[in-house]
């Protein structure tokens, strides 16, 4: 079985300054495998500064990894050229957070759809291009006659975000990176956009990496989840198990802070420690905020297997069998 995407011990370090160089590790030894013939929805969750957007940028090839390699269908993406690079650009698509920023206000919204059609030669004629556009817009629940020919400012945020999803659909990607696609959209439209994404995976066989800080939507759309904190994996596994029975203190804090729309399910009483600026780079990254921090946490915690579909990187689970970080993907259901 071929791998669609394989990340091998990928790290990204941002440094600035020449003399007193500071460096920030945005992503640490991250490994992940997505299979080609088993499209899935994987959530990468974490708060601001957890490295989730860095991961998206790496996957889209906007930045290069400081260490490790990203293998897409057998080829390192850093070494792609020409036609291969074009194919990669088409097959890996993105939906970004801000539906207001991706449109050029001087062009009708058609521009966002016609450019990729031309660039990748997807249509034989103008009529064919029009058909393809209408098909894609209909698939995301928009009426083409309401959308085509309009300018971005005439459309709502939800409509614009669905056009972005339609664009991704048009290109028939194999992998879609959705970076907080619903965080700026009205709650009543979130459901519609998430459903569109899920249909994309189910009916069109697209794998989706759903990047978010919102565990509620993650729970509803994804099969598996990886929780990041300051560049390191805290917990990973089946989304049901991780969210209903979190094992890492950080995930517990996150799950505890979800504002569930349920009056009988209140925010937990666990006090929240302020996040330390900078913090230490060794050992568990959550140590300074962890209510359970122990002496041993100064060392790097390995990944412990909670059960066959769930692992946490925390010494509280020391007695459980260790698994290699590179083997993380084997835990994730598809």
């Amino acid at each position: 079985m071929a791998d669609l995407l394989r990340l091998e011990n990928v790290s990204k370090v941002y440094s600035h300054g020449i003399i007193n160089a500071h460096s920030t590790i945005a992503l640490r030894n991250f490994s992940l495998t997505l299979k080609e013939d088993e499209p899935t929805i994987l959530t990468v969750a974490g708060e601001s500064g957890s490295g989730k957007t860095t991961l998206a940028m790496l996957l889209l090839g906007f930045i290069t990894a400081s260490a490790g390699q990203i293998i897409y269908r057998g080829k390192n993406i850093a070494s792609l050229h020409g036609a291969e690079k074009m194919a990669y650009r088409r097959e890996v698509q993105a939906v970004f957070q801000d539906p207001f920023a991706v449109f050029n206000p001087f062009y009708p919204v058609d521009h966002l759809l016609t450019v990729p059609i031309k660039r990748f030669g997807l249509a034989k004629s103008k009529a064919d291009a029009r058909n393809k556009m209408e098909e894609a817009l209909t698939a995301v629940g928009l009426r083409p006659e309401d959308i085509l020919g309009r300018f971005p400012h005439q459309l709502s945020g939800g409509q614009r975000q669905r056009i972005n999803v339609a664009r991704a659909l048009l290109l028939k990607p194999r992998l879609l990176i959705a970076d907080e696609p619903v965080s700026m959209v009205d709650a009543s439209l979130r459901a519609t956009i998430l459903e569109t994404l899920r249909n994309l995976q189910r009916d069109h066989g697209v794998s989706i990496i759903y990047i978010t800080h919102d565990l509620t939507t993650a729970y509803h759309i994804a099969k598996s989840i990886i929780v990041l904190y300051r560049g390191s994996v805290m917990e990973a596994g089946d989304v049901d198990r991780v969210i209903t029975d979190p094992q890492h203190p950080y995930t517990q804090l996150l799950v505890d802070s979800i504002p569930w729309p349920n009056l009988d399910q209140r925010w937990g009483a666990q006090p929240i420690k302020a996040r330390e600026a900078g913090g230490s780079s060794d050992g568990c990254r959550f140590r300074s905020r962890c209510p359970m921090a122990m002496e041993i946490c100064k060392e790097d915690p390995p990944l412990f297997r909670i059960d066959e579909r769930h692992a946490a990187s925390c010494f509280l689970h020391e007695k459980r069998p260790e698994i290699a970080k590179a083997a993380l993907s084997e835990l994730l259901p598809v």
Binding site: A187, E195, D240, S257, L263, Q265, I272, R275
Partner: protein
């Protein structure tokens, strides 16, 4: 009334002490508030006959889609509507005085001291080249010109403390703070003069869940300390369930339902509230996505009758012709829908 206003900013309370509730009855009474925007393409009625009341210490959630008039309501209450918008009528009575009848200078004094507004994205409005402390002192000085420097500084530091910020933040610049800390600075500024009413417009929309919870808990604590009424504007029903006592639902510039939070979540009355509640994700209904069909109407071309009727599941023939009026149901809930005609 003007006499009362002149003394209002000089209230002896030095900040954050529990205030003795003035008289009984609601601290805030908004009646028949109307705002219209006169645009090139026509008149848009952004607020249409909005009335509600709020008691001291109560928290009201104001929910609705973008463009439903939530932020316009906040701006109208602060009398900060700018052209081409105009407040066409109604009153906003805070603790006995109608803000709509004040002169410009009295209104300036009323802002922050009687009614405070934390705008959307407030944290990005801090001045980058002024220390946090200087910005806070500015706000106090413009209301209490005779107060001494030391007293003002003490007041500011108490406000920072009450939002769980270190007193050191007083000497910092905005860029040295994280998003959650900046938002808490804005809350601290909002409560500097112990206002009767605090309006917070989506205070956590750009923050992640953990920081969001911290900020909401901060608002909760300071609100209790000064016994203010809080209006939380937003569209996240989950946040509302965790935070508010009452929920008001806006649709196309009108209040369509006002209920207690429990009534809203267990038995929503207006079909729009019902759709809103059933579109919510929860732990129980995994994988069910139920959006509200249709799109929010443009205020320039509102549907006739009830503006919600084209999207309404329970629409009746006369919904498209007759405008429903707000009715008070037994128990005090307010609903604007023909389904409840005759029940009031």
């Amino acid at each position: 009334m003007n006499e009362m206003l002149a003394t209002a900013p000089a209230r002896p309370s030095a900040g954050l002490g529990p205030r003795h509730a003035a008289s009984d009855g609601p601290i805030l009474r908004v009646s028949n508030l109307e705002v219209t925007y006169y645009t090139d393409s026509g008149r848009a009625k952004a607020l249409d006959d909005v009335s509600f009341t709020l008691n001291s210490g109560e928290k009201l959630g104001m929910v609705g889609e973008s463009g439903s008039g939530k932020s316009t309501l906040a701006l109208a209450m602060m009398r900060m509507i700018k052209a081409p918008g105009r407040i066409e009528g109604g009153s906003v009575v805070v603790g006995g005085g109608d803000l709509m009848t004040l002169g410009a200078e009295d209104m300036r004094k009323a802002r922050l001291s009687r009614i405070a507004y934390i705008p959307q994205g407030a944290m990005n409005s801090l001045n980058p080249v002024m220390r946090i402390g200087a910005q806070m002192i500015d706000a106090v000085k413009s209301h209490l010109p005779r107060e001494g420097r030391a007293a003002i500084e003490a007041r500011c530091k108490r406000a920072l403390q009450s939002v769980d910020l270190d007193a050191g933040v007083f000497r910092m610049y905005a860029h040295e703070l994280s998003g959650g800390m900046k938002q808490r600075v804005c809350i601290a500024i909002g409560i500097l003069l112990d206002p009767h009413v605090i309006i917070a417009d989506e205070p956590t929309s750009a923050l992640d869940v953990v920081t969001q919870r911290q900020v909401m808990e901060t608002i909760d604590n300071v609100q209790k300390a000064i016994n203010a009424a809080v209006i939380l504007i937003g569209h996240d029903m989950g946040l509302m369930a965790q935070f508010v006592d009452k929920v008001a639902v806006m649709y196309a510039g009108r209040l369509v339902e006002v209920s207690t939070v429990r009534e809203m979540f267990t038995d929503p009355k207006h079909p729009y509230s019902r759709a809103l509640i059933s579109s919510l994700p929860s732990l129980g209904n995994k994988g069910v996505f139920q959006g509200i069909p249709g799109l929010a109407p443009s205020l320039l071309r509102l549907p006739s009758g009830c503006a919600f009727h084209p999207r309404c599941e329970s629409a009746m023939p006369h919904c498209s012709t007759i405008r429903p009026q707000q009715q008070v149901l037994p128990g005090g809930r307010r609903v604007t829908c023909h389904l409840y005609d005759g029940e009031a």
